[in-house]
């Protein structure tokens, strides 16, 4: 290594100490394809056995790398093969009972390994329902109620196949019932997806795709605080300069993610998958994507100009990030969750409406995320929100998602506390007019290629 540059060294240190630079998530993807069995007891035994075997050292290894490098790593997680596939042989005879057995097995293994979340309680229903999908869809609310760490997802649309509107409605029903059973909190672990990436480290939508290796490590980066500080320091520079500086910052942040992923994968003896080039905010002061957008030039995030600001930010993050890792994956977008981003939560009391948020998601993933709506919102309205987001996904080819919380007993303007890194948010207003389209059956066809 050439001579040390004091300014560079200080920059690195300040990113970590003052600007909340961290690696947001290290997620170990594990294939459970070899665990399927028609006997639920055997399925459970195989699943727990494989996870303890492959992921047993995950937490220890990640903590070791964190300590060694001096860079904080916030979450350790596991993503597994979509459960609709694993449960299928047992679900043929035993349906829901088999699915719940699998849910318990995953939660038990996650607890034993010591990870925060385990993702993959997933139904892949963008083009129709199988026995396994039915078992998962029917049990999501109960599974989320009886587990602590399990994350569920319903893939309702895909750009190649269109939108399964019946799946959209069932996902909305699952959201509503989950809210009722868990006082809203379980909805943070449930997401409806379009174009679901098979290698994202981020929850609640992470699962381990069938084309992936037996096990691999995916890394999600962070760093809104760093980007915000850079923009603040720059002052009123022109757009191109602003874009360039964000790009450079994204490059540096992503290189750290790449370093961490490589090292963790090597120590675990598994493949290193992808880096998700996402700006993931936290409720912590300054660690906010909304504040970045306001730094670019908005009085309050959600006012006119917000979509343009987000587009500029996203493009710079992707270009800088892509130069720093040869394998980007997952969403690779800025997250704009409302409750998890203190600036977004504040903006939801100011300029930000649900409709503007939807417009913003047309230029970035991952959609309507961690939005709290009134508890009495009808299922059809929730389905309409999911369908709109799926349509944006199908039309643009981007992954999009809806993670929405109809908080029981809450009305617009009330505060809803999710706790910890999930944050808190005001209950957002939803249109009183509801869609009537869900009386129809079938799918919305895929987009004609451009």
């Amino acid at each position: 290594m050439g001579r040390l540059d004091v300014e560079e060294a200080v920059e690195t240190v300040e990113m970590v100490r003052r600007m909340n630079l961290d690696v947001r998530a290290v997620t170990l993807g594990v294939s459970l394809l070899d665990c399927a069995s028609p006997d639920p007891g055997e399925l459970r035994e195989r699943v727990v056995g494989k996870l303890l075997d492959v992921a047993g050292d995950l937490v220890e290894v990640v903590e070791e790398v964190e300590e060694e490098l001096g860079v904080p790593i916030v979450h350790k997680r596991i993503a597994v093969t979509p459960c609709c596939l694993i449960v299928a042989p047992a679900a043929r005879e035993l349906g829901e009972e088999a699915a719940l057995e699998l849910a318990d097995a995953l939660d038990e293994a996650a607890g034993e390994v010591g990870v925060d979340f385990i993702g993959g309680y997933t139904a892949l229903v963008y083009d129709g329902f199988t026995t396994g999908d039915e078992a998962i869809l029917d049990t999501i609310p109960e599974a989320l109620e009886r587990t602590e760490r399990l994350c569920a997802s319903v893939v309702v649309a895909d750009e190649r196949y269109g939108i399964n509107m019946e799946a959209v409605k069932r996902a909305a029903e699952a959201v509503k019932e989950t809210a009722e059973r868990t006082d809203g909190l379980g909805c943070a672990r449930l997401v409806a997806l379009a174009n679901a990436p098979e290698n994202t480290p981020f929850m609640a939508g992470a699962f381990h795709g069938v084309g992936q290796p037996d096990a691999c490590v995916n890394v999600g980066i962070s760093g809104p605080g760093v980007v915000r500080a850079v923009i603040e320091e720059l002052g009123d520079v022109d757009f191109r300069t602003l874009h360039d500086e964000i790009k450079r910052t994204a490059f540096k942040i992503t290189r750290v993610g790449e370093l961490v992923g490589r090292r963790v994968a090597e120590r675990l003896g598994v493949e290193f998958g992808a880096v998700d080039l996402s700006l993931a905010p936290t409720p912590e002061e300054g660690d906010s994507v909304a504040e970045i957008l306001e730094g670019i030039g908005l009085e309050s995030c959600g006012c006119p100009g917000s979509t343009a600001a987000l587009h500029l930010l996203m493009d710079a993050v992707k270009k800088g990030g892509a130069a720093a890792t040869s394998r980007h994956g997952g969403y690779s977008e800025a997250f704009i969750p409302v409750s998890e981003d203190a600036g977004m939560a504040r903006a939801a009391r100011e300029a930000l409406t649900l409709e503007k948020l939807e417009a913003m998601t047309a230029v970035c993933s991952v959609g309507i995320d961690m939005v709290v709506i009134p508890g009495d919102t009808p299922v059809e309205t929730i389905a309409g929100i999911i369908a709109d987001e799926a349509a944006i996904g199908v039309a643009t080819g981007k992954p999009t998602a809806v993670r929405i919380i109809p908080a029981p007993g809450k009305e617009p303007g009330d505060e809803f506390e999710l706790g910890g890194l999930l944050g808190k948010a005001p209950v957002m207003d939803v249109s009183d007019y509801r869609p009537t389209m869900f009386r129809r059956r079938g799918r919305v066809p895929p987009k004609f290629p451009r």
């Binding site: 540059d5 200080v10 490098l69």
Partner: protein
């Protein structure tokens, strides 16, 4: 872990370099490179150190340097050389 970057930031006063270096020497950590400057009115020093012959782990060294930093009124941060290299060297 073989090499680490030790960064010291704080208000300048006599004894900072000596205090930090003493801890390194006590644990047989070799200083390979050192530079210092004044950044935005603050004293900033950065050292590249070799821990291959050290009698402590990086974790223990970090704790001890942080404690000495507190006594001297400066921030001391220990990061793996690779973090610096990943960010600033293409």
């Amino acid at each position: 872990m073989t090499r680490a970057v030790v960064t010291v930031i704080g208000v300048d006063r006599p004894g900072i370099v000596a205090g930090v270096s003493r801890v390194l020497a006590e644990h047989n950590v070799n200083i390979e490179d050192i530079s210092q400057t004044v950044l935005r009115d603050l004293f900033a020093m950065v050292m590249l150190v070799d821990l291959s012959e050290a009698d402590v782990s990086v974790k223990e060294l970090r704790r001890e340097l942080e404690r000495v930093g507190e006594e001297l009124g400066v921030d001391v941060v220990v990061q793996h050389e690779d973090v610096y290299r990943a960010m600033h060297r293409v």
